[in-house]
Structure formats: C-alpha cells, structure tokens
C-alpha cells in the first residue's frame, strides 16, 4: 500500500512539474502523449508494487527474433 502511495505521490509531482507549462503553451498533443505515458508508467509501477507479474517484453522479442537467432548462431558455429 505504501508503495502505491509513493508511486502516486511521484506521479503527482510529475504532473505538477509538467502540466502547467504545457497548458500555458497550449501543447495539446504533447499533453495527451504525456498523460498516456504517465498512465502506463503508473499502472506498471503499481502492478509491480503489488508484486503481480508483468509480462516481459524480452520474451516477446525472443519469439520474434528466434529465426534470426538461429541463423546467426549457425553462422558462428
């Protein structure tokens, strides 16, 4: 619980730092992208904070690059 509060605090700090200048400059698109990324970040962090497993992107990449891997390791043998 403390972990998620900490994460939310950090997120709040980030919002406090970033959003006012963006609003001032009227960067709408930037604000959108920023919010999405922050939401992803907070979501992932909290999931991690509760020690729920997060799918590892490297596993996905391993599957994608399997054929290429085989070729390369074959070349090196």
């Amino acid at each position: 619980m403390i972990k998620s509060i900490g994460i939310l605090l950090i997120a709040a700090a980030i919002l406090w730092i970033e959003v006012p200048p963006l609003l001032e400059k009227k960067y709408k698109k930037e604000l959108l992208v920023f919010s999405i990324l922050l939401a992803i970040g907070v979501g992932l962090s909290i999931t991690l904070g509760f020690e729920k497993p997060i799918p590892n992107p490297l596993d996905l990449l391993t599957i994608i690059f399997k054929p290429l891997d085989d070729v390369i390791s074959h070349l090196l043998k």
Partner: protein, 396 residues
Amino acid sequence: MKKCMFVLLILSLFLTGCWDRRELNELGITLALGIDKVEDEYQVTAQVVVPSEISSKTSTGRSPVTLFQATGETVYEALRKITKISPRKIYPGHLRTLVLGEDLAEEGIAESLDFLSRDWEFRSDFFVVIAKDMTAAEVLNVTTTIENIPANKMFNTLKTSEASWAATNAFILDELIANLTSDGKEAVLTGIIVTGEQEMGSSKQNVESITPSARIEYNGLAVFKKDKLVGWLTEIDGRRYNAIVNEVQNTVTAISCPEEGKATLEIIQFDSKMKGKMNKGKPEVDINIKVKGNVGEVECQINLNDPETIVELEKNTEKEMEERIKSTIETVQKQYKSDIFGFGNAIHRSNPKEWKKIKEQWDEEFPEMTANVKVDVKLVHTGTVGNSFLEEIEGR
C-alpha cells in the same frame, strides 16, 4: 524546474535509507581465517581483532585478538554460524592469511575455496598457507610478539621471508586458483607449523617471556596434485622450486670454496627463463637461470684479489646450482609426479599444437621428460672488504 528535479532527487534519497551501511564498530574485523575438515564437516576458525585492545589509549592488557569457531556442512554455512558466538558479523575484507588444515588439504581444497572467490567481501589478495601436521585452528591459536595480531605476523613473516630468503612462497588466492585450474601447472603452498609447547600458545604469558614457549614458523612447501596434497618439499627443495619458477628476489646461498670451507653468495638479481620444446616428439624443457650476486661471506682460504678466483667461484657455483636444481626436479618427478613447475604451460606456450596432443597424457609424460638446466652466475662485489682477514690470522 531544474530545481524541482534536484529537490525530488534529494527527497527520494531521504525517503530511502541505507541498507548496506555498517559502522566501523559493527564489524568483526577478521584478519585470519582457518578452515579444517572435522568429520565430514567444515570447521571455520576466525581470528577477530578486538579494536579497543589495539589502541594504546583504551588497552586493558587483554589479548588483541579472539577466536571464533563454528562447524557447518559448507564453509559459508559455518562462517555464518559464527554469528551465534560473535557479537559482530564477520567482516573478511581485510583478511591477511588463510590457513588450511592438513586434513582438508589431503581431501582436496577446491570445494572450500569456491566461496572465498565468490563472495564479494573477500578481496582475494590474502596469502594461503597450509598447517603442517596440525589443524588450522591450532595455528591460529598462538599469540605472537612484535606484531601483536598473529594474522599480521603470519602475513609479514611470509612476505619478508619470500623476499629475502625465498624458501617460502606467498601465494594469494588468485594465483592458487589459477594454478589449480591450469592444465600445465600444479599448485604448491607454503607450510606453517607451531613449534614449542602448543598448549602455552594461546595465553598472554606466551609473549611475556623473551623466548615464547610456542611460535609460529613457516616450514616447507606442500605439493598438490589437482587440489589434493600429495607431499611436502623440504626447505632446501622449496628454495630450488622458487629458483625454477623465477620467484627469487633476494637470497643468500652457501657454496663450497675451491679447496675447502664455505663461502656465501648473496643473490641480488635472479632471472629464470623456462622454455618448452618438443624434441623428437618428446617434451623437453630448458631452464636458463641468470644470477648476479655478491660475495657476502668467505670462510675459506681464497685470494679474492685474483680475478681468476672469481671466475673459479662462479664456475663452482654454476655447477653446484645446476646439480641441486636437477636433483630437486628429479625428486618431484619421481616422488610426487606433479608438475608444480609449470613445464606443461611452457610447452603449451611454445608448441600449442603439440600440447593439445599430449595434454591428456601429461601425467604420464611429466615424470619422463628431460629438463636442461643452465645456470649463469656473475659475481659483482665482494662487500666492503677485499680479501678476508682470515688470511692474516697466522697459524691457521
């Protein structure tokens, strides 16, 4: 904005804390460690410094070190078990000497060394020695003079005697492991013994008399095959071993004069080159030793003012040294069949392809191979006097 970042960074630091912080007075500073094998279990003995006894201000005259001992199935387990008796966790970062018991050495030392090379707190720059005919715990249980921390005494004695007598060999853990893992070289380790009355050794009275009843002394070289102790080289053989592997920095050696009596040679420069080669499919090793020395002592009738004498002395010395070294090599070849000199590595370096072929049968090849020893001695000074005053004493 930048400030905010900075503030956040600092804030987050205060929120976190310090997990690895250990104050100096929370450390059980261990300068010497002993490992023995006691009935299938490892027995670890730690010689821990009592800091307040070292500082002259707060010293109360008690022993400057104390021993903690625990047994466990593995070395690590045993070391951790020490916390049952010790108020402070063992801190081995400043370990000077590791003493291995003879029983352990006979069964093989490799298993016990893995932990020491793996754990981050060990610095692997400590000397490793073998307790000869006794357990490591017994060696660590002796008080010493001059250096009141026995571990420092062991460390410094080994270092100075290696540098100026060259019969011992100060191996640090890294070198030992390199020798253990190498195909073409076997390990040796210096032996350590306690002389005198061992029972008296642990008490403070031991160091209160001019001649302590028990002393720690280095003696002989332990020869290993793989990681098992197979035998001991005498001190004399130990010196010749060091000569072959080019570990001599400075030593003195007694040589016979042309007629009778002895002279002493102080070696100031010593360089030994080992070169492997294949001779008709058989491995062979050339050992070229270059010695530069001074005449340090003359106990016989020779005329040092005559250049011829010097040449003669040089010749004699060369011959003597060659013979001695050859005999040592032969002893090792015949008696222990363990390539402690690194002849295999020499062959590997010069003939990598042939080495691959004979690598597997190296144990059989080694006792059979020939070693050509050539010593070249140059005498430079004769000390502060020319001819010895012995010549002036009439009637001798």
